[in-house]
């Protein structure tokens, strides 16, 4: 239950009482808002006393009479606008003339209510104002979340890119100064490490670009029937060099039908991220099993490894941006920390989610269950905070 505060500013006690009574038990049925709403009403006889009370007791919706003793209703509304209060104002006027309405809205009123009005008229206007207010607040909250996420991105970007830059720069200086004398293999080692760090930077930048593209919504998303098994085979080929270097075997077990309506690039990104993790966090001579199955409605992709696993305490937040589990076993493993958050976001676009099951030192299994036909839903993205935002 959410209670909104309504302030009535009118010098006629009859009007104030009437409005109080009408809104007392009013619980609007609003399509756009899921919460139950009710109202508490406070009263003020004049603009001055209203403005005074607003300071300590800020209202959400105001009903302001056009004709007030002292400062006018328009003045009050103007004050609300100037103080940038998070509230909507509705002007009550006995002279329902066009001029008054125009004046009110130009001063910042959201709507107006012409006297005489019935309780139903009042409830209708209040209901509309409620929807408008709550949707605007929701939008502002999303915008604020986005701002915070962006600030965090920039902070982490700064840190995560500076480290490899400093490493490469350090090695170049040491080579330039012949710090290892005539020991050529030592210089080779420095060059190899530099290339590895640069590769890490490239991965980070690529992942970040993927992330920002996902956040903006993909305008050019192309949905067609894709064979996930063949995309999986392609992804396995991509990761084979790294796997072979450590003698890690990768198997694919696919059960027909393996087709779904999807953008092949998105499925590839998901598979590449999951497979890359399965190899990176695996043990030498380990195994990776990719399973594709499902039912009529959904296609499930599972990637299981025989790797270092994830402790229970590290599971919450695992799919968050830049989350990387740092411990003795993982300290040599490079990554952007964005892979899983990308997977989760993409899965959301197919009405699905990403799940993990893991046992330390035994292995981990990551599963995504995707709708075979996501066009039945509105295809909206699920952000990492769980709220929905429409693609642009």
């Amino acid at each position: 239950m959410k209670t909104l505060r309504v302030m009535v500013i009118d010098d006629e006690p009859g009007t104030r009482l009437g409005i109080s009574r009408a809104l007392h038990d009013f619980r609007p049925r609003l399509d756009e808002v899921t919460e139950q709403i009710d109202y508490t009403v406070t009263e003020a006889e004049s603009g001055e006393s209203a403005i005074d009370r607003m300071r300590d007791d800020p209202p959400d919706i105001l009903l302001v009479d056009y004709r007030l003793p002292g400062i006018s209703g328009l003045e009050v509304i103007e004050q609300i606008r100037q103080r940038k209060l998070d509230a909507l104002a509705i002007m009550i006027t006995a002279y329902g003339s066009l001029d008054t309405a125009v004046a009110a809205t130009s001063h910042g009123a959201y709507d107006f209510l012409a006297k005489p009005f019935t309780p139903d008229d009042l409830k209708r206007v209040i209901g509309q104002a409620t929807v408008r207010l709550l949707l605007a607040r929701q939008a502002e909250q999303l915008a604020e979340e986005r701002r915070r996420a962006r600030a965090r991105l920039i902070r982490v970007l700064g840190h995560e890119l500076k480290a490899p830059l400093a490493a490469v720069e350090g090695y170049l200086r040491m080579i330039r100064q012949r710090q290892a004398g005539n020991d050529l293999p030592a210089y080779d080692a420095m060059l190899d490490r530099s290339l590895i760090r640069l590769d890490g930077m490239r991965t980070l930048i690529t992942d970040l670009l993927d992330m920002t593209r996902l956040e903006a919504g993909r305008r050019d998303r192309v949905l067609r029937q894709v064979d996930v098994a063949s995309l999986a085979r392609k992804a396995i080929d991509t990761v084979m060099p790294q796997a072979a270097a450590r003698r890690i075997a990768i198997r694919l077990h696919a059960t027909d039908p393996t087709t779904m309506l999807a953008d092949p690039v998105e499925i590839e990104i998901m598979l590449n991220n999951l497979l890359s993790n399965a190899v990176k966090y695996n043990r030498d001579d380990g195994n990776v099993l990719v399973t594709i199955d499902g039912d009529e409605d959904r296609l499930c992709i599972a990637v299981a490894d025989t790797g270092i696993g994830i402790a229970d305490r590290d599971l919450p937040g695992l799919f968050g941006e830049f989350t990387r589990i740092r411990n003795e076993q993982t300290c040599g493993i490079l990554g952007s920390g964005l892979g899983l958050s990308i997977v989760e976001r993409l899965a959301g676009g197919y009405g699905g989610s990403a799940l993990v099951h893991s046992e330390p030192n035994v292995g981990s299994t990551f599963t995504v269950a995707l709708k075979r036909d996501c066009s039945a839903t509105d295809g909206s993205w699920t952000s990492s905070t769980g709220s929905s935002s429409q693609p642009i």
Partner: protein, 141 residues
């Protein structure tokens, strides 16, 4: 504390492998005995098993404040060891990394803060100041 003619043993703790490699080479060339640690546990193993003369610790190793945690345990173990905290994040987080006042130093339990990337000349000067014969010995409680 090692005898004055021995090479000072310096613990370097950072999760960046290349930072450790580079600093190790530079410290060895400058006549020190570096002991490197890539994790908090490794670092503790080092100072538990031998007397170190100075520690260089990365602020954000392993966790957001892994470096602070390590400082705390090191101080508990040996209140006399000078500590240099290094970090890449000073400007972004707005942390002011000049622990000039005793109050700031006592809160954070490090002697010096240096921002990455480290200039070795500056680091070397600080090491000499902190381990030389006239260095101040402050006991942290």
């Amino acid at each position: 504390m090692n005898a004055p003619h021995d090479k000072p043993i310096i613990l370097v703790a950072d999760d960046d492998e290349d930072f450790l490699t580079q600093l190790r080479m530079q410290l060895e060339a400058a006549g020190y005995l570096p002991q490197t640690a890539q994790t908090l546990d490794d670092a503790r193993r080092i100072f538990d098993s031998q007397t170190i003369d100075l520690a260089i610790i990365d602020l954000m190793m392993e966790q957001q404040d892994g470096g602070f945690t390590l400082c705390y345990f090191l101080r508990k173990h040996d209140p006399h060891v000078p500590i240099i905290l290094v970090s890449a994040v000073a400007s972004e987080t707005g942390l002011r990394f000049d622990a000039a006042t005793d109050e700031e130093r006592s809160w954070v339990k490090a002697d010096v803060f240096l921002a990455k990337p480290i200039r070795f000349e500056q680091l070397h000067a600080e090491i000499q100041r902190l381990t030389g014969p006239y260095s101040r010995r402050v006991t942290w409680s």
